[in-house]
């Protein structure tokens, strides 16, 4: 690690943070009200969606490719769990309790909440400049050197004082990917499973290669989102769980003293 060519940010010596900057940080929130509100409502909706999504899968833990698929056709893959319905031969001699009713209702209601909050976040984020200022990579950020710098910092499990007030390049790229690739994909593949929506806009499902492909992709993208969440939480933990949580709840970034 010591042979790394990039300039390490001094960790033992205090970062050059002036008193002015600290007091400014206390009044200038790390996260705006819009970001904080949509972040937590989407978090709640996302937890509900993952839980209910898992319950819905239990009724048919088989995934197919193409337009149609059922127990008489060959699956692309199966999840080796018992099902909640007798129809599915799982190899287990019993069925799990059927939770599909409330799970579906909560799944769709949470999806509505997530989509509405997502739209609010993107529109608000454009209007306030949050997306441009905080998420789009800054000048010179998109160089390999800069990326290696940030990655090496992460590998050394070392918090970076610079990141108190702004997102690093890896954060920016992964947040952009989640907001503008994964979430739109999970919404698209979800909508493609709606027989009514497909009647209005058939391309929704046809472009994905059929409704069973849409269902399988919905599952895979959801797994990707869950993986992001796990990494996200680990990163928050590593950077100081208390301060980061407080920043996302109250908006205030911490000064150096408080972080220790």
């Amino acid at each position: 690690m010591s042979t790394m060519k990039s300039e390490p940010i001094p960790l033992e010596t205090p970062a050059p943070v002036s008193r002015d900057l600290v007091s400014e940080a206390a009044v200038t929130p790390r996260h705006s009200l819009l970001v904080r509100t949509t972040h937590w409502i989407i978090t709640i909706a996302f937890f509900a969606l993952v839980l209910t999504g898992a319950e819905i899968i239990v009724s048919h833990p088989r995934f197919y490719w193409g337009e149609t698929g059922n127990v008489l056709t060959t699956p692309l893959f199966k999840i080796p769990i018992p099902a909640s319905r007798n129809l599915v031969p799982t190899g287990y001699g019993y069925v799990l309790p059927d939770q599909n009713g409330w799970s579906r209702a909560l799944h769709f209601q949470s999806a509505w909440l997530l989509v509405l909050m997502g739209v609010l976040y993107v529109i608000g984020g454009i209007a306030s400049g949050h997306l441009r200022r905080d998420l789009l990579p800054g000048k010179g950020d998109l160089s390999w050197r800069r990326l290696i710098d940030v990655v090496s910092h992460h590998l050394r499990i070392a918090p970076n004082p610079e990141e108190h007030w702004s997102y690093n390049i890896l954060q920016r790229l992964s947040y952009l990917f989640v907001v503008f690739v994964l979430f739109p994909l999970v919404i698209w593949t979800g909508l493609a499973m709606s027989p009514a929506f497909d009647s209005a806009i058939p391309a929704t499902v046809n472009l994905l290669g059929g409704r069973q492909s849409a269902r399988t992709l919905h599952f895979i993208v959801s797994i990707a989102l869950v993986l992001f969440l796990m990494i996200h939480v680990v990163m928050v933990w590593r950077e100081g769980f208390k301060t980061r949580m407080r920043a996302m709840i109250t908006g205030k970034a911490a000064d150096r003293k408080e972080r220790k």
């Binding site: 048919h60 008489l72 209702a105 769709f108 027989p195 009647s199 499902v205």
Partner: protein, 252 residues
Amino acid sequence: MSKISRRKMMVTGLTATAGISGLGVAAHLAKKYGLIPPDHGGIYGPGETLTYASMRLLTRHSLAREFTRSQISERPLQNEVAPFSEEFKRHQAARFADWRLVLDGMVARPTSFSVDQLKSYAPHSQITEVVCEEGWSYIAEWNGVPLSYLLDLVGAHPEAKYVFYFSIEPDWWESMDMADAMHPQTFLTYGMNGDELPVGNGGPIRMRLPRQLGYKSVKFLNRLIVTDDAKKFGKGLGSISPEQGYAWYAGI
């Protein structure tokens, strides 16, 4: 109190008032244009209402995707149903010769149709996908008569809002709004892939609603009631599905 906070409070108050009255106006319009589902109450009511209202605005006339003959599933899945009642078994033994489909309620001429009578009307067919709420699906050709044809035949009242439909088997009934009832792909089916509709797939008569999930396509149909009041049936939620935790509107 400082000027700024007073101004802030006034703005907040005005925004809240506008928001609440906006919601009131939206609710009034939604009711007027039939955008509120019968199961709009309860904790999942907002989600159900948003879905139903959006789909009604988006899909009043749109057609479910139809497929080519080569896409028809080789083996149409026959999912499990509860053991048949004695009454159904008697009909089955008689090859459904005495099966009747009664259509009454808000109609000028209440009528009881035999299976042969339904078959005597101009036959229609559609190759559409059955989509189960569990996740599986299959494609079949469905042969039958559009519900709208029968509704015209019996003279359904223009004030009618729903068509309720019942299986001969207990606790199995649904309803649809008039947009779905008059939709050209809403069929009373008596045939599948050119043959008689197998009992395993809902024969002798099954409702077919390809823009909604499979559970709206009730099997072993013997009664249709045209009405303007969903509250008169069961717990008033539009069908037995909401009583069992499932959405009345299953177009998603």
